[in-house]
Symmetry: C2
Subunit: 326 residues, 2 copies
Amino acid sequence: MKVLITGGAGFLGQRLARELLTRGVLKDAHGTLQAITELVLLDVVRGDDFGDSRVRTQVGDIAERSVLEHAIDTNTAAIFHLAAIVSGQAEADFDLGMRINLDASRLLLEICRQRGHRPRVLFTSSVAVYGGDLPEVVQNDTALNPQSSYGAQKAIAELLLNDYARRGFVDGRVLRLPTISVRPGKPNAAASSFASGIIREPLNGETAVCPVAGSTRVWLLSPRKAIDNLIAGLELDAAALGNQRVLNLPGISVSVDEMVAALREVAGDAVAQRIVWQPEERVEKIVGSWPGRWDTTRAEKLGLVGERSFADVIRAYIEDEHIQIR
Amino acid sequence: MKVLITGGAGFLGQRLARELLTRGVLKDAHGTLQAITELVLLDVVRGDDFGDSRVRTQVGDIAERSVLEHAIDTNTAAIFHLAAIVSGQAEADFDLGMRINLDASRLLLEICRQRGHRPRVLFTSSVAVYGGDLPEVVQNDTALNPQSSYGAQKAIAELLLNDYARRGFVDGRVLRLPTISVRPGKPNAAASSFASGIIREPLNGETAVCPVAGSTRVWLLSPRKAIDNLIAGLELDAAALGNQRVLNLPGISVSVDEMVAALREVAGDAVAQRIVWQPEERVEKIVGSWPGRWDTTRAEKLGLVGERSFADVIRAYIEDEHIQIR
């Protein structure tokens, strides 16, 4: 079985690749475990190939037809489409967001359709598809009303995938991800970047700026559980998904104050005091439009699982990244 | 003020043009009535110009950039975007539906953005954006789940318009139209074509085939009220629309049996007996996925109005089309 990850050099892409290589197998459309014989990591920069002969790294612009045609052939049985322009950047550069988040996603579906072998395709979507006047707990049948171009582009990609799946062009599914926290590495242009930064930087002995109020409620998932759910989501039986291929993933609903309290619990006062509060209207407007919690009954029935406590998420981050608390 | 109607040679486009020419004025963004100095009717075939010097008919493919660039300039203050590939045809020819219902709609928004003058743009959408397990009465916050490519394309166009409006590229609004009945003329490739055919053909002394069960519930609006609402919708104050530019238009919820009963009431037994029942699975599947009723509180608060009885709709059709009942 050949597997493609777009955004394969990114944080989630690399972590997913490592997990797939470790497992070595993935369920096919009949529910049978198949050996992963080739794993293509496509991105605008070259990803780590982990010194594994099954990995082929490909550098290219996924909005270019020839790049995707090179990456996808009739042996490509599973595609994890993770490549995206993040929320803050898509708001700042409208055309770039449209090109990658919409046009490239459509092109990917279109090339699968032309190949004609009906691969499993997983798109990731986001809390950002919701917005406006939201119920306290977003339901599966709550209307989308994105208040950012990123959210609009993700909502459009969901509709495209649903229709390509309904017509039998692909065996598609979309997972709406909570905000991923704690991400290692550097801050990025996502409006939600702070949700990792306020944990990561203080643990590294650095000051973190929090651009939203402590009462802001966020809906979070750890990288570990995100990877587990991406693989479980790809392996879901199409029949169980029915006429709606989009799933709201389980997460944990915490206020920013509760995140800081969890940091204090795990790493102590000195660490938690490295957060500086500087509200930024641009970020508060985007993040404030997202749901703080959604109903996850459907995903849980399908076997997808979330977190139990944010303190556990911080502990897992410290373990995964070999952090020495200072 | 210059006004553009795409699909301007179509049934609704021509009727809207006639009404605009009769009124002679349209509210601008400040709520001030302005004289309509030029009315461009763009379509793939040449529409009637009503012998009116204000009318310019333009023939062209709206998915071609040069065609829309010719139609839209910085004096174009109001655009009614009615051109579409109907549901049955978009299901039969996926690429054509994507090209007109999605690509051309996006191109229209994009050209307005480039012109930079922020015109009022009205898109029409449809019951077909809904589907799957629906509540008995669809609410404003009921999630879209289109079960046809037409519905998916319309839902995507809604998201695009909302985002272009939010960013200030256009002053946009979308009206979700009930199924229009009674349409004069010939049957078309819309899955809902029967909703006019079972009234129109019997009134013309001809047999009509009804492809759905009599218990099927449909959500209808007459051409007269549709035109009134298109104009009222274009004239709505942007501030009143807020962060959600999409409105579910008022309509009337009737079963097909009730439609036939209304026809019998207005035109007699002999006419109503000209309907032949031949269920067609393809049509039942599409039409059955649409809502039979939706909540219209929001549209009504904004001054948009629907029908009172389907018998009145039939009477208005007989009057407008000068039908002699046989």
